[in-house]
Symmetry: none
Subunit: 411 residues, 2 copies
Amino acid sequence: MVKIEIITIGDEILIGQIVDTNSAWMAVELNKTGFELAQITSVHDDENHIIESLNLALQRADVVLFTGGIGPTKDDITKQTLCKYFDTKLVFNEDVYRNIESILINRSQAINELTKLQALVPENCTVIQNLVGTAPVTWFEKDGKVIVSMPGVPNEMKHVMSTEVIPRLQKHFKTPSIIHKTMIVQGYPESALALKIADWENALPENIHLAYLPNYGIVKLRLSGSSDDVLSLEFAINQQIDRLSEILGNAIVAYEDIPLEKLIGDVLAAKGKTLATAESCTGGFIAHKITSVPGSSQYFKGSIVAYSNEVKVNVLNVLAHDIEQYGAVSKEVVEQMAVNVRKLLKTDVAIATSGIAGPDGGTAEKPVGTVWIAISSEKETISREFHYGTVRLQNIERITQTALLMLNEIS
Amino acid sequence: MVKIEIITIGDEILIGQIVDTNSAWMAVELNKTGFELAQITSVHDDENHIIESLNLALQRADVVLFTGGIGPTKDDITKQTLCKYFDTKLVFNEDVYRNIESILINRSQAINELTKLQALVPENCTVIQNLVGTAPVTWFEKDGKVIVSMPGVPNEMKHVMSTEVIPRLQKHFKTPSIIHKTMIVQGYPESALALKIADWENALPENIHLAYLPNYGIVKLRLSGSSDDVLSLEFAINQQIDRLSEILGNAIVAYEDIPLEKLIGDVLAAKGKTLATAESCTGGFIAHKITSVPGSSQYFKGSIVAYSNEVKVNVLNVLAHDIEQYGAVSKEVVEQMAVNVRKLLKTDVAIATSGIAGPDGGTAEKPVGTVWIAISSEKETISREFHYGTVRLQNIERITQTALLMLNEIS
């Protein structure tokens, strides 16, 4: 398999000013097209460090993809460094200059000394036009290996990767096909799941690899394989999934890698059902997760975030007497919240949460992390008590995920 | 300066299943506490590759921080690899076992063979308890250098970094005192702000460094200095802040680096005022941000997430006629939402949002990214129109930040 390494150049990532989303995108695209991404390295705009990283990467990999460090300002030195590495010099490139001109005209900007410098490219490389930005892509070859330098601006990088770099790499190397299939499993902690499927896992063929990706009450199981014969690989992976499906049954809630809120939305949309939430401790986070899915207005009507007891009583019509007697974090209250929001917002199903998110506010009887979740439909209203930790945001995320899982299980 | 490298272990990043947000967070924290993050390396769960990366990192840096690869399943091999590297063996640790037990009891899970394995730790290392997860942190020292292995689960990593790893590194390396002071500036784009304060910036003493951290309508200005004489450094930085304060006046909305939702919460709590939100396009995200602050129940009563027009009319009493005439994304509707939620939830102030978050759903007249935000108090109701992009989650975040800024500006 052709091994690729990414080297990102620039201080922004190493001081945490930006999150490196480029590499994740590139990883997905490279994997899909049959390359193995073997390492990602992030280094500063420092000549020695860049050269050292390139030397090391070329010892391990067939291709090195640089992103970043090719802007027109003084701190960007990738182009100069590559010139030094490949013992060549910068020359003026007429085509690049014309591209810069047309890009800047589009942006209503005049060309200046600095942008003009972008038309200088290393003499002994293949220049690939960047049609969405002013910094060109440069492609070098050395001892059968390929080194490409690309812009770090996400949309420019994505455009040149999709339209030029990956197609050229596929042509240059003959790449095998890669298949990943992900299943989402509910109801098993990671370790219990591993024990449950140990025999199946141990009997997996050598060319199929399993990964566990646990996340708050679900575990994603990912099977990966690579082969020149894509059809028999697909057949073999599907066969394994069928076997696993026999072992785990309904615990497998999805046979694709989608967020839970999307999974639930798809089910609701397919059944033509509508949803509302009544949230106390989750403070609107469940509504946020659900509405983060485009098109969620098809099944989500809204939420009453009843953070104060007053709102629970006045808007959600929870009995004040029950809050007094059982406390806001109780079966009685959370069930009323679920039933009443369902009626108030006229939906088919509803989720309600009431708990102590922390870090303070607990009692001996109801410590921080205690939470009640209810799911209500015309047919039934079910509630459960859970106990989590004391880290507020973690609790909010866990309670949200648990509530979505309960909805998925029940509806 | 003490040099640190991060090595992330695990296939998830290299196949692009997750974005490496951990490293950006760590970069910020390390920079704040006086360390230099020199490189980030992401490698697979592969023994040779992990060892090679560690060897190389130790040639360049004083500290190597591993994240990931320490779960209980077969694919996780970091612990075993470190045992091999440090020529030691795994031993059972009673304290870790008790921590695992208490974590699992909290999660209503039974301990099993695999979770029990988490209590096995390398013999010759310092074990640091992970109070929010089952995988402990291990700390090794070799030739004056420090190697730490941490969980890759973001909240676990953040918790152990903040409470244990960074304080121990500061103690171990006797780092010089670093002072960072951050101001939050509202109302200037980054470049306009830079021009406004250019003279002041150019006259900064050499040992005081300025960074611009722009984020959706605010710019954080961070002054940093390091010195063995912490008192005179503090004096010098405060002097600069006083000068800047004369230049920028009220545009500086905070003299500390706190989230906007905390800033607003502090102001509301100090004035004894209460808040509600009525959210359409933000879908509960404003309520979530506000309730992510511990103690927010003191001033936040709740929210009506009126995602469907039906809820806007039936629960928030928006005039159906106005929705028909002006559209849900209009000055008329958003102002009614704000006024009515304030009355319904009996609060002093209220925020309302209505917009088209995208990626679809726009029209020629109201393209995706169009949003109306209103702030209502007993005294007045103010609304403004904004235009953002087409990326849904980014829009939801921007609208939320803008709404909080409007509230801060007006109240």
